[in-house]
Subunit: 282 residues, 2 copies
């Protein structure tokens, strides 16, 4: 199959590596000549350049740019695409992306491969990043079954775990398990920095260990990621924040009123309730 | 030096292993004969039993029972101790423990070796658990310098990083970096379980990955640990929870009002602010 990839960063690069190895013909689009040269040299793509006309033969095009650009990129490449081409993306929010892209290309089909690395950019691209990781596809009511089948076959080539759902369900689900944790974790760091006594703050910093490290990890991540989540998944994230604020207020209340048996139940519920989120997947 | 250890669980066992290897004579006190037999067999202690008279020769006694029992244990062993003996503990909260123990033994000196494992009990005891980990000692105004020096030399034998501070400073510092994260993390799990649609909840569970796993880890831990933190460090923990509730309300507000530049600054501050808490220690 002929594949186009627009944006040769980490995710675009990883897609290129795996799909090339599976025997697909892969064309990469990147603004910088150096990126194209590197992608060709590493065999990540078979053709590369900045000219959208290179996409003319592509049967499936993956848009791998930042979320903010997806709509504009689809609009820009549309005149050069085969009318039968399927266009998909890899953004971590789906409803607003689909709303921005579909007017420019009716055969746009939202997707979200849920894998990543701490490093960014093509240099960090590697084989099998998506293996055994979730790959969500969010078909609309008008998505042709044949288009869905084609994208599903590519997801199978990546050896990902496929999930099909409504874009809104996707966005609410990732708000809970990915976007809310960033805000919860960032707020933990902010709260600690409120310690008014400098000596105590230094002591806290010196004594911090794996518990603090893990709980604060995603809150200490790249600001642009958290900002993107908040901007593009605002409503779903606000829902989860409201529920979270109720939960933390409840815990405070139980401690305030010294209702130890209720606090114990609460902690038992979180111990048990965590398990389905962290169970190993087959 | 002659050492007594009351309570042969994980921490008591690990202390016994390291101090025995350093050439100290170690006597263990445990209620169950089987625990004593195991401790003797593994060379963790040189003498063991349930009779407090075994502690008569001890120069330093470590109380390694749950926090709730420390005061009563000190009271119970006091009649059998050498009047010169130093008594210390390993509890994770200091001010209330000292208040409970010192009336029964004026030479009580609070301590907190900050190391642990997921597994509990003597079976899990191992060498070098405390190596390169913080060991906090909280002397009072009346603590004799000689007593402090003796405990410091034992901490040096464990190869721990020594910190000296006021009990109240210790309790506030661990509230920030250990006890608050448990409540923050537990509330994350509780919030997610509030998703009203069963299909979405299942999707969120299926899509949860390392971000959720890390942020929820300490909240999914043993309920008795979180309960102990809340009971014995209630006031300090409530301080941190109040600061935390302000921080999460501020984040919600920034997202609600779409103040993206302020949210970006907030996320930048948490990225930078986290570093001193997770910097590698020499």
């Amino acid at each position: 199959m002929e594949i186009g990839i627009v944006g040769l960063g980490l995710i675009g690069g990883c897609l290129g590596i795996d799909l090339s190895r599976r025997g697909h013909g892969v064309t990469g689009i990147a603004r910088h000549e150096e990126t194209c040269r590197q992608a060709l040299e590493r065999g990540i793509v078979q053709r590369a350049g900045s000219d959208f006309r290179l996409l003319g033969a592509a049967e499936v095009v993956f848009i791998c740019t930042p979320i903010a650009q997806i709509g504009a990129v689809v609009e820009a490449i549309a005149p050069y695409l085969d009318p039968e081409a399927i266009v998909t993306d890899v953004g971590s929010v789906k409803a607003p992306v689909i709303a921005a892209a579909r007017p420019h290309w009716p055969r746009f089909l939202g997707g979200h491969p849920m894998a990543g690395k701490a490093e960014a950019g093509l240099e960090a691209a590697e084989a099998h990043l998506f293996r055994q990781r979730p790959y969500v596809i969010t078909p609309g009511p008008d998505t042709p079954a044949a288009d869905l089948d084609i994208l599903k076959s590519l997801v199978a080539d990546l050896e990902s775990r496929l999930y099909l759902c409504d874009p809104t369900d996707h966005d609410q689900a990732v708000a809970w398990i990915s976007h809310l944790p960033v805000m919860v974790s960032s707020s933990l760091i902010h709260a600690c920095l409120q310690e008014p006594e400098a000596d105590r703050l230094r002591l806290a910093q010196a004594l911090a260990s794996s518990g603090f490290r893990d709980t604060s990890r995603v809150g200490g991540g790249p600001p642009e990621l958290g900002l993107m989540m908040a901007r593009y998944n605002r409503e779903a994230l606000l829902n989860t924040l409201a529920a979270y604020q109720r939960a933390i207020a409840q815990v405070s209340q139980l401690i305030q009123t010294e209702d130890w048996s209720a606090l114990e139940r609460h902690l038992q519920e979180s111990q048990t309730g965590r398990l389905p989120f962290v169970a190993p997947r087959e």
